[in-house]
Symmetry: C2
Subunit: 427 residues, 2 copies
């Protein structure tokens, strides 16, 4: 059912490769990001599990093919191509950096080698899925750095780019280190911890705020978090304090969060509720969080919506998927485009990680001593080699990667062979 | 299967309303945008068809309920609530502005009235779906204005926020007036015209560019669009010209598009290919398109990806869904929050459109003479009243709306009754 989530030209090219007798040619493509967005020091790789699931289940149904056949772009395509497409399955190889890896501009997030039609068709889906989750995980890691050890919860599904993106944002944010998400589907599908108590409409549905607060305690018991700003934040805080336990905490969603959090903390403490936590929401981003943390705001949990689930300040990665090698019978070529400003590096590559820099080298080169290989085989001959579903492991790995490599200005060097291949006319 | 695409607090509140004996209370919510994003003069409303489909099919499966029951947030919720939820269906009313309407900040895109649990649960999904498609349609209308009558095609699914967003972006862009999309799923699901020919990998897969071009003509015939910048744009143009017809056009994807389009136009014209069209792509947005148009670049079609499918310069709307009235037995109240900077206007409203301004008035007020009502009934008592699927009609309507109302600084006034209700203490 996902086969048509693609650009039409992937399928016209597929038909063209078939008609040109190229369907046995084997192509290698790499997915990488041309440039880091502004204010990003690194990418936190995310979305591989969905990429693997897509490749291993990609099929064209009869309904897919019926739709395609009637498009005018396929008028000249012979019937045999549709027979081919109805039997399509991915039989190639995939190497990838594990989810949670810290990578940099120009480094392949994945390398795919397959008969050219099987390598071409997945481009759009892989870019969309891995590009988006990597975008969100990378943004989440910035928010977490700003929060300096306080919890960050992903609250953005209402502002994400349609409901499915909200669910995937919850997954990516959790892998990056967020405490969880408000998105229930992300909770069920990926076992991400889910958070949520009540909104302003809850308070408004009662004639008196006090009744809303008391009833929430009946509902949530020790998990009660009172939203105290519907009418007047400090009056709301006093009301919550007056009602006493059970009270996990209160939430501030408007106004001057620094001043209010201090005043509310005092009200709670004076009522003997020093274990009650303060959560803040309201269009937060890494700058406002960093300012609150620097000022010592007594906020324990930041709920972040729009800025996280849309990566608001940089809502896209310049992720591309480029052919780097092609094998036709016994003829092998390296491939690279030379379009102005958009040149690509030929050759299937491996990323070698040293403590202080990364080295991009051709896969075919002998590995340099003392370096870690970042691209691992995950699909071989169409068979999935890994079980990608341990989010807790990805999260631990991401934390370690960010600590060790998530620094600005890390160098990415090219091996001599790769540099020679890329610039054959230079000395 | 979409019931869990929501914030957890919608479901905790649902349980809370049920426990508080409020499940027969009838609430009215409005979905609106607080402020227009920077550089937006209006909203082009989009996404209603999906909202209607969601509301009319929303159910909780046994699997949904099994997941929810084991969450600690529901520890205190009695079994009867889960029986209620397993029988859930939407039985309320929905009024909405048709897709393609031009609206402004503060005006309801839709008004939903239903038993409070049924009105609360849809919040997240409606915001995500309508907010996103409205965001994209509004951006598309800016791009089309910049293109000043030239075609714009939506090419952004690889950069959209995951594949489903790419498909919906294709729909929204088409309703706004784009010529079509590259997204095949949008083509099949919504009958949007689909565009696509070949990418750089097509050219790279051949040893000689000339073979790639000739083979593309075999594949696409009169629909051939040659991508001419893989190695050298002008050499590519000469090659395409030399091969001659069939040739619908050429595509430029890098370099100085103004100079190149002029040079390429000359090469094509000199070869007698004056009917061949020039398409340009390469991170275009409304500013670069407007500059190319102003300079008289001979570009016939603009393909726009990232900036359109992510609304790059403003990737979120401040869309909210707020309770405005609540009826509990014989007691009726208007509802509005007073949170600092986030006050809302109480009361279910109607938008009345006059030639030079809009008037927001209470639904209960008598309609002013000479005005058009913008909110129409689309669901009544859970029954869908409209067939929302005519995209061509929406597109025609959008064109007319933009022409008549898509201007900056259009005034939105409040009726006296609404102003009195919102500020009861003011004279």
């Amino acid at each position: 059912m996902r086969a048509l989530f693609t650009d039409l030209y992937q399928l016209t090219m597929a038909a063209g490769y078939w008609m040109a007798g190229k369907s046995a040619d084997v192509a290698t493509f790499e997915l990488f990001v041309r440039r880091l967005p502004p204010r990003r020091d690194y990418l936190l790789v995310c979305g591989l599990e969905q990429a693997i699931e897509y490749l291993s289940t990609l099929r064209f149904t009869g309904r897919d093919i019926d739709y395609l056949r009637q498009l005018p772009q396929f008028d000249l395509v012979p019937d045999e191509f549709w027979v081919y497409l109805s039997n399509f399955r991915f039989t190639g190889d995939l190497w990838a950096a594990p989810e949670g890896s810290v990578l940099f501009a120009g480094e392949p997030l994945l390398t795919l080698r397959a008969p050219i039609i099987e390598a071409q068709i997945p481009e759009t889906y892989l870019l969309g899925m891995i590009g988006f989750q990597t975008l969100i995980a990378s943004k989440a890691s910035r928010l977490l750095r700003a929060a300096a050890g306080r919890d960050v919860v992903e609250f953005g599904c209402r502002r994400a780019h349609a409901p499915e993106a909200g669910c995937l944002a919850g997954r990516a944010a959790y892998i990056a280190g967020c405490a969880g998400t408000s998105n229930v589907e992300a909770g069920r599908r990926f076992a991400v911890p889910v958070f949520g108590t009540a909104a302003h409409s809850w308070v408004l549905s009662f004639e008196h705020e006090q009744d809303a607060f008391a009833q929430l305690q009946q509902l949530l018991g020790p998990r009660t978090v009172q939203l105290i700003d519907t009418y007047d934040t400090l009056a709301g805080a006093r009301l919550a304090a007056h009602l006493g336990p059970p009270l996990m905490g209160v939430r501030l969603d408007s106004g001057d969060l620094l001043t209010l959090s201090r005043d509310v903390r005092r009200i709670l403490d004076d009522a003997g509720l020093s274990s009650a936590r303060i959560m803040a929401t309201n269009d937060l981003d890494e700058d406002s969080i960093a300012a609150l943390v620097a000022a010592g705001a007594p906020i324990d949990i930041f709920g972040v919506g729009t800025s996280l689930a849309t990566s608001f300040d940089a809502p896209a990665l310049s992720a591309v998927y480029k052919m780097v090698e092609i094998q036709s019978g016994s003829s092998h070529r390296f491939a690279s485009k030379r379009s102005e400003g958009k040149q690509t590096l030929p050759g299937a590559k491996q990323i070698y990680r040293f403590p202080d820099h990364d080295l991009l080298a051709l896969q075919a080169e002998p590995p340099p001593p003392g370096a870690e290989k970042l691209l691992h085989p995950v699909i071989a001959g169409g068979e999935v080699l890994v079980d990608g579903k341990n989010l807790q492991h990805m999260r631990d790995y991401a934390r370690d990667q960010i600590r060790r490599y998530g620094h600005p200005h890390r160098r990415v060097e090219l091996s001599e062979s790769l540099a020679r291949l890329a610039h054959p006319t230079q000395p």
